[in-house]
């Protein structure tokens, strides 16, 4: 075995160190930020791929920082569960960087916050220590607050402060949980905790710790009724930033919660803990229903997608509940489902928010109403968005179906019929808001005085100067697509050459293709996870 384990610290340290460069170099040179971020992110993606190839052939890769043994030092661990999330983080980061090259916020400060965020997320994924998990959660959060606040209007600062206060209280709740764990066991290392927790003399402390941790993560993962920060944060963040936050930040928190359940507390221990499973399942199921119901009544597309995140993460949390409650077979199925759904949802939400950003830039549409006739004018974006939406609903070849299928299967295996019913019902409700958007895009003809009414476009900021050309370009593209049906990508890019490049469209299309491809690869996911599952669930 060579020095493969050195990849682990590098994955965390490189983005954090590179984050200083855009600002430091920005004092002397103007446009270094993108180069630094691109090199760093591509390097991280390559490193994560190399790591994955080792992890999925040989199994666990660990690195003890500074060579101190586990009892004193900090450990970094990459196993089959965390590597999957690390791959998702780096891949989505590459895609969003490609998009923001033309479309997003640029500026050196953006690249600094972006690299900090990626570093924090990889830290959450790879750490093997519950306290370091807190530190990385906070690094991620601070970068997210800064990114949300970089939105145009003053509303973004308000949304960001709301997120900051709730997020800090949530992370502090988690820290109290860690304190109780330390009190009961005297260690913070995840692997040591796994053996120390069942042997602890005072189980009340462990239960208290679990209660605080559940509350902390319920806020971080945006579970109803603690989700209130999420819609405003997603809506007010700049268009190029929302995909990054929506795809990764809550996903990493949900991953961390899953890691604590299966590795630290242990499934058997939690199964014996009174009401633990019932509470987690209830939190998840209520979020699924409340999230979809709130998404259905939204008129703003970004806000609707944000509420959809509440419900999709509810499914993941409900799956964790099944893992705690069920027999070992059901627990394995549900955990597979939760992991696939985490990865799949991350990819889908990145694609959907990118598509929404693209539509807002090129077409000026932000509400569901304004999406009318999108399919005629922007067939490629509309097509990609339709694929992503259908996949989110859970139409078979999409990756959303695979995750839901495993979760529902786990619910049935463990006889938790309400959860199976909730999965089914959420699919119906998801179809409710997805179909509304699809209907607008494909079957509602464009009204003549639309699409860029002065009101909504003026409030979105930034595109005021493009207003007159916006209407014109939309009409021009009608002619363009009518005459050239063969190459619609060039048609849409020619319609608004300043704002939308082929690359931006290509990223969205790629996300849609990946969603379908990963849907077909669902079985491979399960196979890759299998050794991890047999290890943690006896």
């Amino acid at each position: 075995m060579s020095n493969v384990d050195l990849i682990l610290p590098l994955l965390i340290v490189v983005p954090l160190l590179a984050a200083t460069l855009p600002i430091a170099l920005g004092l002397r040179f103007d446009r270094t930020g993108w180069a630094v971020a691109a090199i760093a992110t591509l390097g991280l993606f390559a490193a994560a791929t190399a790591l994955a190839s080792v992890v999925y052939t040989d199994g666990l890769v660990t690195h003890t920082l500074g060579g101190y043994p586990r009892e004193y030092g900090i450990e970094l661990v990459a196993d089959r569960f965390s590597t999957m999330i690390a791959l998702l983080v780096t891949a989505v980061a590459v895609g969003i960087l490609a998009y923001t090259r033309r479309g997003g916020p640029r500026g050196n400060t953006f690249y600094t916050a972006y690299l900090l965020l990626v570093g924090g997320l990889l830290g959450i994924t790879l750490t093997g220590d519950v306290f370091n998990l807190f530190v990385f959660l906070e690094i991620t959060s601070i970068a997210t607050y800064a990114l949300v606040a970089s939105g145009d209007g003053p509303e973004s600062a308000v949304a960001s402060l709301k997120y900051l206060i709730l997020g800090t209280v949530a992370a502090s709740m988690y820290l109290i949980g860690v304190a109780f764990l330390l009190m009961a066991t005297g260690t913070l290392n995840m692997i040591e905790l796994a053996t120390a927790i069942p042997a602890a003399e005072r189980p009340t402390l462990i239960r208290t710790a679990f209660a605080f941790i559940v509350v902390g993560f319920a806020v971080k993962v945006a579970q109803w009724p603690l989700h209130t920060w999420q819609p405003s944060a997603y809506q007010q963040a700049p268009d190029g930033v929302t995909p990054l936050i929506a795809a990764l930040v809550s996903t990493a928190s949900a991953y961390a919660f899953g890691r604590l359940i299966v590795t630290v507390f242990g499934v058997d221990y939690l199964a014996a803990m009174p009401n633990a499973a019932a509470i987690v399942v209830t939190v998840g199921c209520v979020s699924v229903l409340a999230g979809t119901a709130l998404a259905v009544i939204q008129t703003e597309v970004k806000r609707m997608l944000a509420y959809s995140s509440v419900s999709q993460f509810g499914l993941v949390i409900a799956a964790y509940g099944i893992v705690i409650a069920g027999n070992s077979g059901a627990a394995k199925t549900a955990l597979t489902g939760a992991t696939i759904h985490l990865v799949g949802h991350g990819l889908l939400k990145a694609g959907l928010f990118l598509a929404a950003a693209l539509v807002a830039t090129s077409y000026g549409a932000r509400t569901v109403h304004e999406y009318a006739g999108l399919a005629t004018h922007r067939p490629v974006i509309a097509g990609a968005m339709a694929v992503l939406l259908l996949s989110l609903v859970g139409v078979p070849p999409g990756v959303g179906f695979v995750g839901k299928w495993y979760i529902a299967l786990g619910a049935v295996q463990s006889q938790l019929w309400p959860v199976a019913a909730v999965v089914f019902l959420s699919t119906m409700l998801t179809l409710g808001y997805a179909a509304r958007l699809l209907e607008k895009m494909y079957f509602t003809p464009l009204r003549v005085e639309s699409p860029a009414e002065p009101g909504p476009v003026a409030t979105d900021g930034g595109s005021d100067a493009d207003d007159p050309s916006e209407v014109g370009s939309a009409e021009r593209s009608t002619d363009a697509t009518a005459s050239e049906t063969v190459v619609p990508v060039t048609a849409s890019s020619r319609a608004a050459p300043e704002t939308v490049s082929v690359g931006m469209v290509a990223v969205v299309v790629l996300a849609a293709l990946c969603a379908v491809a990963l849907g077909f690869a669902g079985g491979t996911f399960a196979d890759l996870l299998e050794p991890f599952l047999t290890e943690v669930i006896s």
């Binding site: 530190v135 800064a146 206060i165 800090t168 913070l188």
Partner: protein, 125 residues
């Protein structure tokens, strides 16, 4: 009950501080006071960690400093919670800085630090 509370007075004080902090976050209309509440909340957790270091070692001195009462015997409290609290304080400072920066921006945009006024101003727009 009284006996339990008096023998565990540190916890009573710490959780009172915790409660004051969370109450300020929820009830105070002033944004700066909310942030102070968050800080109190965090400080209570830090003190909880520190107090924990001395739990299982009777008569221990601070870490690294030799025990003056029994010079022969090196009895110190666990240094782990102290290290953790140091890191957590740094995280807390960073959070406070970001929060204050956001509050300054809100004040510059809306001209108020109070949440109820802010709500009215935003509703008017």
């Amino acid at each position: 009950m009284i006996e339990l509370l008096s023998s565990h007075y540190t916890y009573v004080l710490l959780f009172a501080l915790l409660g004051i902090g969370i109450y300020m976050v929820i009830a105070s209309e002033n944004l700066v006071k909310k942030l102070i509440g968050v800080n109190l909340f965090q400080t209570a957790i830090f003190l909880f960690f520190i107090s924990m270091a001395y739990i299982n070692v009777e008569g221990a001195s601070a870490p690294v400093v030799p025990n003056e009462k029994n010079p022969g015997e090196l009895l110190v409290a666990s240094p782990l919670p102290h290290v953790i609290v140091l890191t957590a304080i740094v995280v807390g400072i960073a959070l406070t800085a970001v929060g204050l920066a956001l509050i300054i921006r809100i004040y510059a945009e809306y001209g108020t630090l109070r949440e109820d006024t802010l709500r009215e101003v935003r509703a008017d727009e």
